[in-house]
């Protein structure tokens, strides 16, 4: 066997992939049964793709299986030289004699016979002799027989008569497998991802691939520390990555495939080609769209050829959105059905949004206020009503905090109405900015019914939900009115959660109202419940004698004011019914 034959070139170390599977199978078949299959076997392919490795493996395998087999591994150049020497010495038959003794002739790099007509003629004779006696020929070339220029047609026919197979450039997986094999053989310990990164580079042949590995190995020895995957391209002189490696590493996990490499390439292209300002505006559009806003302004900006003042544009847009949000909040407080209304989603339509908000303000009903005649000063706080008076002051001191809700109960004439309205008025005086709602349960029910008729329950609710002080008189009137109780429950929770003061009055304690929902009762009793006791009043029969010519002041007591005629009328009827 020739000294040219590298002992490491064996089938075990030959990585088989899609590009060389056929060649590898044919080579094995030849090694197993020389002269009986694929004779001649012609292997062609570009430089450094493993042709020599493959045919050398045939020699080793055949020798291993048949030690007596006579094998000649040579090159086209060597044969030509041998022939030249023989012809020059006038003994051309010596070459034939030499090769007659060979059972398996492997001729590497056939392309060197180009144009050597005389050598080709001798070679043709040699091939005829060998094949005629059942001996195996294996040839390699960097191109297929028909592409070797200036080849004798008879020789060409002979070369093509057996099996012509090619070895192609390795694909990613194959490159990776080769790298792993070579690393193992050379004891090169690559850091995680390094071999994958090398394999991802489009080396055209295995020789260059091994060269790259050598370079990395040398670099690693020189530096005394492992080469990182991110540095591979730089070390091998490849185009450096223009995006942060960490970003790519985040996308491409360990154990990458060719597809992942593709993704990395796409990432590079996208990030290189798409202008950053368009990305920024695009992201803003996406974000605002998700928030429900129309983004026509920003979309039109994307159509600009040159980058606009992106920061200014986005800040202006954000400010416009803030303005819209304020208008929307205002409108929703007056009528919740306007929450999310399209007019508050278009930054180009702020004028229209203003019109809507203002219109709502004009048509909104004011909260029912407490009657101004009732004041703290005219409240009877003597005797048994001192607790109620302290509660009054406590609420005034810390509205919505200590006594919330404050429930006042007492029979007719005990001064509940006076107490509730006076408290409402005192709170208005103490904090003029606070909104105070003061109404009787009957009105509460009536308003609800009307709102239901008109389909404006949401709006009605919103009206009371904005109250800072909510005073509801005569809650016993809600007994057995389930829907009203539901609404009051809902309202109570909203008001209580936002710290509004709640004041309720009733003719009797809540526990004595069987038609009141337990959930309401428990909430009412969770605050402070105080009782008002009716005071002694002079009956009409005990009126003081009327002095002629003077105003009859017997109706002017501390509770019933003469200028509150409508209320006074109601009180009178109560007194005498």
């Amino acid at each position: 066997m020739s000294a040219l034959l590298d002992g490491s070139y064996r089938f075990e170390g030959f990585v088989v992939g899609a590009s060389n599977r056929l060649a590898a199978s044919a080579a094995r078949a030849v090694a197993d049964a020389p002269g009986s299959a694929y004779n001649p076997l012609f292997v062609y392919g570009g430089s450094g793709l493993g042709k020599t490795h493959l045919v050398a493996a045939i020699a080793h395998e055949a020798r291993q299986q048949r030690p007596a087999l006579r094998i000649e591994f040579t090159t086209g150049e060597e044969v030509a030289e041998r022939l030249h020497v023989a012809i020059a010495s006038g003994q051309p038959q010596r070459v034939a004699e030499h090769y007659q003794l060979v059972d398996l002739l492997i001729l590497d790099d056939m392309q060197f016979l180009t144009g050597q007509r005389e050598t080709q003629s001798e070679l043709l004779r040699l091939f005829n002799m060998l094949q005629g006696s059942g001996r195996q020929l294996v040839l390699t070339s960097d191109r297929q027989p028909s592409e070797i220029p200036d080849v004798d047609q008879r020789l060409l026919s002979r070369l093509s008569g057996g099996l012509v197979v090619d070895v192609g450039a390795p694909d990613f997986e194959m490159r990776l497998a080769i790298l792993r094999n070579v690393s193992l053989a050379r004891g090169f310990e690559a850091a995680a991802g390094v071999l994958d990164e090398v394999a991802r580079l489009a080396f055209g042949n295995v020789r260059e691939l091994k060269g790259a590995l050598n370079k990395l190995s040398a670099y690693q020895q020189l530096e005394g520390q492992p080469v990182a995957a991110a540095d591979v391209r730089a070390i091998l002189g490849e185009r450096p990555l223009t995006t942060p490696p960490a970003r790519i590493a985040a996308i491409i996990p360990e154990g990458t495939t060719e597809y992942d490499g593709f993704l990395a390439d796409v990432l590079l292209e996208v990030e290189t080609r798409v202008e950053p300002w368009r990305v920024q505006v695009g992201e803003a559009i996406d974000s605002w769209r998700q928030a429900g806003y129309l983004t026509g302004v920003l979309e039109r900006a994307l159509g600009f050829q040159a980058a606009p003042d992106v920061q200014g544009l986005l800040q202006t847009f954000a400010a416009a959105v803030e303005h819209l949000r304020g208008l929307e909040d205002d409108a929703a407080a007056l009528d919740p059905t306007y929450r999310g209304h399209r007019v508050f989603r278009n930054v180009e339509g702020i004028a229209e949004a203003l019109v809507v908000r203002d219109q709502l303000r004009r048509t909104a009903l004011p909260l029912p206020a407490p009657a101004p005649a009732y004041t703290r000063e005219t409240l009877d706080v003597g005797g048994p009503n001192q607790l109620a008076a302290r509660a009054f002051d406590g609420v005034l001191e810390e509205p919505g905090q200590r006594f919330n809700p404050l429930v006042v109960h007492g029979p007719v004439g005990s001064g509940k109405t006076h107490f509730a309205h006076a408290l409402g008025n005192a709170l208005r005086v103490a904090s003029p900015e606070k909104s105070v709602a003061c109404l009787a349960a009957d009105r509460f029910v009536e308003e609800l019914v009307v709102a239901m008729q008109e389909g404006g329950v949401e709006r009605w609710r919103a009206r009371y939900q904005q109250a800072d002080v909510f005073i509801l008189e005569d809650i016993h009137r809600l007994v057995d009115k389930e829907r009203s109780q539901d609404e009051l429950f809902r309202l109570f929770n909203v008001l209580h959660d936002r710290g509004s003061q709640i004041v309720l009055t009733s003719e009797r304690p809540t526990r004595e109202m069987p038609g009141l929902a337990d959930r309401l009762r428990s909430r009412f009793e969770g605050g402070l419940v105080v009782a008002l006791t009716p005071r002694e009043r002079p009956r009409l029969t005990q009126r003081p004698p009327h002095v002629a010519g003077e105003l009859d002041r017997s109706f002017l007591d501390a509770e019933k004011m003469i200028w509150a005629w409508p209320d006074l009328g109601g009180r009178l009827i109560e007194e005498y019914r």
Binding site: E147, D171, V266, E269, V274, R278, V279, L302
Partner: protein, 200 residues
């Protein structure tokens, strides 16, 4: 040009597999459908006759997912190769961002390849597209056939690849060359992103 929706952060590229009938265009898509990660490839829509020839076209969406700031989506189409479906080929070709020309390496399909290539150029011209400006890659399919049956890559290149575009020997049934074709075409299409937008 690829459609870039910055607002949706979506880049859509329409890639068309062109070539003579039975050259392996649908096989390319079938292979990609089976080989690419299932989460990123949609269902292969194929309108085919009983003889498995593409009647109208095949469609395969490949969603590469969010790459950087953008979601990149390739829409792969094939055209029916038979000469009498020229109108459909024109239709499918409309708006193509790139073309993979799938040539049949079999010796007896030589003329079909050349006819189909000429047909492609004529159809592009009718759409007002200059083939020089459009990303095109050549794929010489069926290179797995014995040498006696298949034309060599060099011969095919000499006859078909006169523009010197990237070319690939392929065996679409088993995969070699298929992914490389897509990858190269996809990258060439994406490289036009910046230039097209600036010119828009």
């Amino acid at each position: 040009m690829p459609i870039v929706d910055h607002a949706m952060r979506l880049i859509t590229c329409k890639l068309v597999y062109y070539g003579p009938g039975r050259s392996g265009k649908t096989t390319n898509l079938t292979y990609l459908h089976s080989a690419l990660p299932s989460g990123q490839v949609g269902s292969l829509t194929s309108l085919a006759t009983r003889r498995d020839r593409t009647l109208f076209f095949d469609y395969l969406p490949v969603d590469l997912g969010t790459v950087g700031a953008y979601n990149v989506r390739f829409q792969l189409y094939t055209v029916p190769g038979q000469p009498y479906y020229r109108a459909i080929r024109q239709l499918v070709l409309q708006g193509a961002d790139g073309i993979a020309f799938v040539a049949d390496s079999q010796q007896h399909r030589w003329e079909d390849n050349i006819d189909s290539l000429q047909d492609m150029h004529a159809n592009l011209a009718e759409h007002g597209v200059n083939a020089r400006d459009l990303p095109i890659v050549m794929q010489y399919n069926k290179q797995d056939l014995p040498a006696s049956m298949a034309a060599t890559v060099a011969d095919l290149a000499a006859a078909l690849n006169f523009r010197g575009v990237p070319e690939f020997a392929a065996d679409a049934l088993n995969g070699p060359g298929v992914f490389d074709t897509l990858r190269t075409l996809g990258m060439r299409v994406l490289r036009r992103l910046g230039t097209e937008e600036a010119a828009a």
